[in-house]
Amino acid sequence: MRTRLPVIICGVFGVFMAAQYFITAEPVTAMYRAVLDWMQIIFVCALLVGILNVILRQLKSAARPGPDRVYAGIALFGIALMVVLGFGWGIGRGSAFLWVFNNVQAPMQTTVFSLLAFYVASAAYRGFRARHFESALLIAAALIILLGRVPIGEMISSHVPAVVSWVLNVPAVAAKRAILIGIGLGMTATAIKVIAGLERAYLGSRTR
């Protein structure tokens, strides 16, 4: 039962979900929508477990003396704030919940995102080394696009934009297509292995 039942369930759902793609009959599409719905609810239930674990973990470290209790307190405050505002006064427009989202959460997220501008630069400095022909190509392509897409490139030569779009639309697209084909094959093969019960790492079991 520990692995057999899950593997059978996995196989049944796998075959059904692959088959429904080709079938237009209403009972099948209704079942398909139901399964999507179940997946969503399973996810939310797992989310509740996850969130409960986060809260317990923070409570535990808030209870322990030491500098970490302050941070745990901050995290708990954040959770409590959103929960109280969200369940107490709603999440619609003009609500305090949205105000916190717009003025605190969203700008913080954008700021974390913008750290990338710095990281891109440091990765560029250390990662691009012309050790052989291939890496020289990598660098050349990066430099062309980097400069060709801002006013500076247009100042260097009026042909730059044309070169940029050729690189982006011909060789780069060819490689991207081939990589996508490879990934598609890998995904398909993995999915087949999983449905056939050959790959069971998600159950923690490797042996058949």
Binding site: P6, F13, A18, Q40, I42, A117, L168, A178, I181
Partner: protein
């Protein structure tokens, strides 16, 4: 945006940027605040938009079909009891199986057939030929059953050239978006907060 909002935003923004110097208490405080807010946010949103209208209300309304997701979700929740974790394998199997099943035709279409179709579509031009050579060489780069020797070696080599151009180009154009984000934050710090920008 009210003045207090601007100040809160500015302080949290600076706290996050301070990580670029090194890890420090301000960053750590911002990090925990962000964890707390985002966890609270997703709790509220998922209960209010999924669990309540998608499970609770229908069940209360007598929709017996919802007993299945109730059971599956329940099996997930009893993971909280360590001895019962084994039961959560059933909902996990549903997600993995259904996900694998859905992805097979979808991936074959979007990642393989459409890409092949686009390649075969317009070959009667120099660019079309350059493209075809690139696709075939790069696909063969991923041929695993043999060492890259003999005929496979030059083919895989050409494939790497194409990939390097692609990766370089991707890097270059992604930089644009990332820098724009920083510009946006700078506009906020220098303009909305410090009022240093004209206009």
């Amino acid at each position: 945006m009210s003045e207090i909002g601007v100040w809160i935003t500015a302080l949290t923004t600076l706290a996050i940027y301070s990580f670029l110097y090194r890890d420090n208490p301000f960053y750590k405080a911002a990090e925990y605040l962000l964890i707390g807010l985002t966890v609270g946010y997703s709790l509220v949103i998922s209960v209010k938009t999924v669990l309540w209208p998608g499970l609770v209300l229908p069940l209360v309304g007598g929709d017996l079909a919802k007993i299945i997701p109730l059971v599956l979700g329940g099996l997930m929740i009893i993971r909280l009891v360590p001895k019962l974790t084994v039961w959560s394998r059933i909902p996990l199997a549903v997600i993995v199986g259904a996900g694998a099943g859905v992805s097979i035709p979808a991936m074959l279409k979007a990642r393989i057939l459409q890409q092949m179709g686009a390649t075969v579509g317009h070959v009667a031009s120099l660019n079309g030929i350059i493209m075809l050579v690139g696709v075939i060489a790069t696909v063969m780069y991923f041929y695993f059953s043999r060492e890259q020797k003999g005929i496979l070696q030059p083919v895989a080599k050409i494939g790497t050239w194409y990939m390097m151009i692609f990766f370089g180009a991707t890097f270059g154009y992604t930089v644009m978006s990332r820098v724009s984000l920083l510009i946006g934050r700078m506009e906020f710090l220098l303009g909305d907060w410090l009022h240093l920008l004209g206009g």
